[in-house]
Subunit: 140 residues, 4 copies
Amino acid sequence: MNDAAPFWEQWSVEFESGLPVYRQIVNLVSAAVASGQLHPGDRLPTIRALHQSLGVNPNTVAKAYRELELKGVITGERGNGSYVQERPLPPRPSAGKRRQRLEGLYQRLVAEAAGCGVAERDLLKYLNQRISCACDHGST
Amino acid sequence: MNDAAPFWEQWSVEFESGLPVYRQIVNLVSAAVASGQLHPGDRLPTIRALHQSLGVNPNTVAKAYRELELKGVITGERGNGSYVQERPLPPRPSAGKRRQRLEGLYQRLVAEAAGCGVAERDLLKYLNQRISCACDHGST
Amino acid sequence: MNDAAPFWEQWSVEFESGLPVYRQIVNLVSAAVASGQLHPGDRLPTIRALHQSLGVNPNTVAKAYRELELKGVITGERGNGSYVQERPLPPRPSAGKRRQRLEGLYQRLVAEAAGCGVAERDLLKYLNQRISCACDHGST
Amino acid sequence: MNDAAPFWEQWSVEFESGLPVYRQIVNLVSAAVASGQLHPGDRLPTIRALHQSLGVNPNTVAKAYRELELKGVITGERGNGSYVQERPLPPRPSAGKRRQRLEGLYQRLVAEAAGCGVAERDLLKYLNQRISCACDHGST
DNA sequence: GTGGTCTAGACCACC
DNA sequence: GTGGTCTAGACCACG
């Protein structure tokens, strides 16, 4: 029952992706918060822990955490770790904005897939199956 | 009725995205080739044209084109424009590789969505509907 | 007796030769790798070091290194230098291709020699002696 | 007995080599003169003829001829073709100079071979065989 | 300090 | 006009 390995040890960053590593970390944390893996008040992995787990320089993790603080997602207590904010995320954007962002994200997704040799067709097939999974398990 | 504006004038790059602009361009072209918007032998927009259309420095576009040339997607003819290669894309990667890349892309997608305030739930809903569309029209 | 000066400080580029400087650098590095002066995992001269040593713009060196990276010869680590790839070179081209390239190279060699006043006769004499040397010492 | 195909129809330029096409042409002509394929007073192929034979724009050939005129290798008679100069080449450089140039050429040759995947070992083997040929036939 | 990206602007080779 | 090379100089991500 004791999952000794905390969920964030599954995290990984891709050095080749072009996305700055620190932004990948920001995204990972944001996603964990948004998806409910991390709740308001939860303690984040230490900078040192993430640094080891991701194989990334501590400074890089620190930069990511600083950025997250600026965005109001987490709050750092000096010498005591970082915690998810109580009101962690800005209110869900309006349906219109969401739609627009999703469009953009999807376009980029298709483009990036193509960039590394994966056709939109394969992408859709994969997503479809992914969605079925999600429905079966309930949202994660 | 004749939309004089060539399709690539719809292209745009996001400066905030963290992805290097030249890589976004590489992805855009790759996607256009993979999706059949550009066929082998077709002429690409000139470097200068894209530079104007995207509002980036010509050198940046040139860098993207050079990268595409080395990847074997396009071929630049001096004084004559750039063209899609006859054998435009390297063979489809193996199913394993594809799977792995798709996993990575999906993780990044979720993370980026979270990063700009869109929950995975909304994402899935959007993708689902997107997929239905694709099925209706036949894959593009 | 310890020659403090690293071997690559012997490198030089010819601005008059017509061959783009960055391609000359690509060739120099490729040759060093192929000849065993540089081994897989070895660190390359930093971009800035080569830029000083060769007297060319750092960007030019960076371009050469990028090209080498795409060719799979080296790998650049951000903030950490550039290194020779573990599997440094693509498999030796087929005998046919090699032959063809050698033909081309030889033709150009003769032509360039003529271009600067050296007859093929002298060239052959020189090469002959050069080859004898190589045989004596064993191939390098 | 009538070799309908003049020797210069064997000539070819490599667009990928990086060497400007017009300089390749200069070198080809220089080599032909130096090797005795073209003698003082001989008529050169027309610009138009070379343009067709090489698949190169006439202007490019013209530029090469202009360059050759400046170097004193040929002389253009307006409307009447171009001819090899009477005293076509500057006196053979001193042994020292020759040696130095040959060194340089050889280094570049090795580097370029490496650049396109051919090891020095293969290069030497090829040259060796090439030299034997030349000895058999007498110099060309 | 190391590699990477981008800009601005110049000049060249080729059509 | 089109692609290609080079420079100078700025800023960023990473260690």
